[in-house]
Symmetry: C2
Subunit: 399 residues, 2 copies
C-alpha cells in the first residue's frame, strides 16, 4: 500500500471569539492510499500555521514539508507508521510547528493501518508497544469538559445541567478563574461542587492562571481542597517546570494535573520526571499524534502516574485519544467534550456515546472507528489558497 | 511611540538544495513606529510557516497572531519589549511556531528602542538584565562556521582556505559526519585539524548524527580527542536530554555543546540543568529573540557554563546574537557564518568585520547597528499571497 495524497482541511465556525473554546475551528487531515483506503485525523492547533507545514517550500535538509516526506511512501503496518513518524520529524527538524501539524496525519495513518489489518487501533498499539491487558479495552469514566461560567452563579447553572445530563464527573476550566480575587476563585469551585453534588467527581482547570507563581497555586490548592476536586489542572505555565517542581515539593492537598501543552515526548517526560505531576494530560492532536502519545503512556505506567487524554475537539479526536490508553484499566478517566461547537458536534457521523453504566467504550470497528461527515467538511470549509511569486502552492483540498 | 506595522519578508535564493545550509532562504521582519523609527530582525525558521503566524485567523483566546497582538501597542523602552514578549507568547499559547516566528520581531523591537534611546542593544540589556561588565563590550574570537566537505580531502581544502583567510578558529559540521563508518568520521576531524593547523581552535558539529545513542557519541568524543577539538556539538537529538545526561556521566574527554534547537527558555534550561552540556548555543532567530536569549545567558552565568551564539544566517542575526553576550568577557567565542549564500551576504549593507587582532567587536551604533540593504529585499523577495474564502489575508509586504 502506498500513500498517494495527504490533504489538510481548514474548517471553522462563522464567528470566532476569544473564549478558550478549541472547537471554534479545526484542521482535519485526510490521507489516501493507492488501495482506496483512506484515514482521517484532527489537529488541536492553528489551522493555517499547521496547513503551511504541509506545503512550505524546502529551506534546506531540515525544513522539508509533510507532503513531500510522505507522498509515495509505503505503508504496510504499524512499523511503517513509526518509521514515517521518524522521517517526517527528522525532515522537519527546524520547523517548530511540526508536532502540532503532523498530529492529524499520524492519527490518519493509524486509522488506515487498522482498516487494512481489520483491527482497532488500540489492538495495533498493544502489539507495537505491549502492555499487560491481553488486548482488553476498558471502559472509562467520562468527565464533561466545560468552561467556568462568568460568575459562580453561572457556573452553578452549568454544573446543574451536567448533573441532569447524567455526568458523574466534570471539569470546569479557564473563564474567570485566577482573574479576580481569591474569594471569587473559591466561589467558582464551590459552585461547581454544589451544582454537581457531593457524589460526583469535579476537576478544576486553572488555565495557566498563576504562570510561575507556585505559592499562589499552592494556596488555591489548599483553599479548593474542602471541595475535594480530583485534581487542580495547569495552575502554572507549561514551561514553568521549576515552579511545578516547587509546587510538588510543598505537597499540595489535591493532586496536580498538566500536560496539554506538550508538543513533544521530552516536554511530557520533563513534566513527569522534573515537574512531578500526578496526572499527565496528553493531546494526540498536538503531540505529533498517537505514536508519541503511546510512548508517553508507557512512561506514565513506568513512573506510576495516571495518563489522561486532553481533548477539546470532535469525537474523532476523542476516539483517537481513547485508543492510546484503552488497554490500561487504571487509567480510568476520559476527558469528554460536552459543550463543543456545531462544527465539532457534526464532524463525525457517530459519537462515542456514554453507556447506560455511565461509562464510555470503544467499538470493535477497525482503525479509529469513527467516520467523518463529508457534509460538515463542505459546510464549514475555509478555502485556502497560497501563492508564491504567482504560483499556487496550495489550493484548498478537494473532497 | 506606537507600533504601526509589523511586516514579514520571505526571501530566497533561486535554487534550494537539501544541504544543511540555513542561508538559502530567510524571513526578515520589519517593525515600523509612528515616529518613523523602524527596526529589523531575522528568523532562522521556515519562512512560510513563520509568516502564517503573523496573519493566521484567531482560533480562540490562545491562538492570536503576532500582528494582532502588536499593532497599536505602545513602545517606550525595554520594559515594553518584555511586556510585549509576554503578551505575544501568551496570546499564542497554542501556536507551536510562535517562538521561531516572533524572534525576528523581538530583535526588531530592541533595534527600535536602541535607536530611540541612542544606545546599542547590549547597553539596554545591561540595564535591563544587569551584569558585572560596567557596560564594556568585549571582542570575541570568531570561528568560521562551515559544513564538512563530502570527503576528508574536500574538508582539508576547506580548512586550508579558512586558515589562509586568517581564521584562528573554525567549526566543521553536518555533511557526511556520522553517515558512514567510524574511520571516516575520524578522518573528517583529522582533515579539519590538519588543514587549520595545530595552533587553531577547531569545533566538530555532528549534526544530531547519533540521535539518542550516547555510547556512539562517547566513542566518537574519545576518538576525536587526539585532534583536540574545542567541543563536540550536537552528537545527539535536541530532545534526547536523558541521553545527553548519560553521555555527560561518562565524562567524555572533550566538552559537549548543544542548544541550537532550543525554541524556549525551558528547552535551554532543561539542556543545561539536566543535559549537563558544557556550552549552550542559542539562536536568537529561534528562541523568540534577544529577550529570551538574554535570560539564557543569565542562566549560563549562574551555572558556570559558556554561552555561545548559534548563527547560520546574515550579519543582522550575527549582530543581534552578539549583543546578547557582548558584556561577558569569559564568553569569548562567536560563531561567524563564513560560507553564506549571496542572499545572506548581501542582506546587510555592512558586516561585523574581523579586526586586525583577529577578533570581532560591535560598533557603538544605536540599536542592533547593522542596516538592511533594501535592494536585496527587492531582489530576493518571494511575493506571498494568502487567500481565505476569496479574501486576501496576506499580500506580500511592501517596502
Amino acid at each position: 500500500m502506498k500513500i498517494v495524497a495527504v490533504d489538510p482541511f481548514y474548517l471553522k465556525m462563522p464567528n470566532i471569539t476569544t473564549d478558550a473554546d478549541g472547537t471554534q475551528d479545526t484542521l482535519v487531515v485526510r490521507v489516501q492510499t493507492d488501495e482506496g483506503i483512506e484515514g482521517w485525523g484532527e489537529c488541536d492547533a492553528s489551522p493555517l500555521v499547521s496547513l503551511a507545514t504541509y506545503c512550505c517550500p524546502m529551506s534546506h535538509g531540515n525544513i522539508i514539508n509533510i507532503r513531500q516526506s510522505l507522498v509515495g511512501e509505503v505503508l504496510r503496518g504499524s512499523d511503517d507508521i513509526l518509521r514515517l513518524h521518524d522521517k517526517v520529524l527528522r525532515n522537519a527538524l527546524d520547523i517548530q510547528q511540526i508536532d502540532h501539524a503532523y498530529s492529524g496525519t499520524d492519527i490518519a495513518l493509524w486509522d488506515i493501518v487498522g482498516q487494512k489489518l481489520k483491527q482497532p487501533v488500540y489492538q495495533l498499539l498493544e502489539d507495537q508497544f505491549g502492555s499487560s491487558s491481553q488486548g482488553i479495552d476498558y471502559p472509562k469514566i467520562p468527565y464533561a469538559s466545560v468552561l467556568f461560567g462568568d460568575t459562580p452563579e453561572a457556573t452553578f447553572q452549568i454544573a446543574t445541567r451536567l448533573k441532569s445530563q447524567g455526568f458523574q464527573a466534570a471539569k470546569f476550566g479557564w473563564g474567570p478563574m485566577g482573574k479576580f480575587d481569591r474569594k471569587f476563585d473559591i466561589e467558582l469551585v464551590q459552585s461547581a461542587r454544589e451544582g454537581m453534588g457531593e457524589s460526583a467527581q469535579i476537576m478544576i482547570d486553572a488555565g495557566v492562571a498563576w504562570k510561575s507563581d507556585y505559592k499562589t497555586a499552592y494556596d488555591r490548592a489548599e483553599a479548593f481542597s474542602q471541595y475535594t476536586p480530583t485534581w487542580l489542572e495547569e495552575p502554572l505555565a507549561p514551561e514553568a517546570i521549576g515552579a511545578y517542581q516547587a509546587l510538588s515539593s510543598l505537597n499540595p492537598p489535591i493532586p496536580i494535573a498538566a500536560g496539554e501543552g506538550c508538543a513533544t515526548f521530552r516536554m511530557a517526560e520533563d513534566l513527569i520526571l522534573n515537574g512531578k505531576v500526578d496526572y499527565v494530560q496528553i493531546d494526540v492532536g498536538r503531540v505529533s499524534g498517537i505514536t508519541t502519545a503511546a510512548k508517553i503512556r508507557q512512561l506514565a505506567e513506568k513512573e506510576g502516574i495516571q495518563y489522561v487524554n486532553h481533548t477539546f475537539k470532535s469525537h474523532l479526536s476523542l476516539a483517537a485519544s481513547l485508543h492510546v490508553f484503552a488497554t490500561n484499566e487504571d487509567f480510568n478517566l476520559l476527558e469528554y467534550p460536552a459543550d463543543g461547537s456545531e462544527l465539532s458536534q457534526k464532524l463525525t457521523t457517530e459519537k462515542l456515546a456514554v453507556g447506560t453504566d455511565g461509562q464510555v467504550r470503544l467499538t470493535e470497528k477497525p482503525g479509529i472507528g469513527v467516520n467523518i461527515d463529508l457534509h460538515t467538511i463542505r459546510d464549514f470549509l475555509v478555502s485556502v489558497k497560497i501563492e508564491l511569486n504567482g504560483t499556487t502552492i496550495f489550493d484548498h483540498s478537494v473532497l
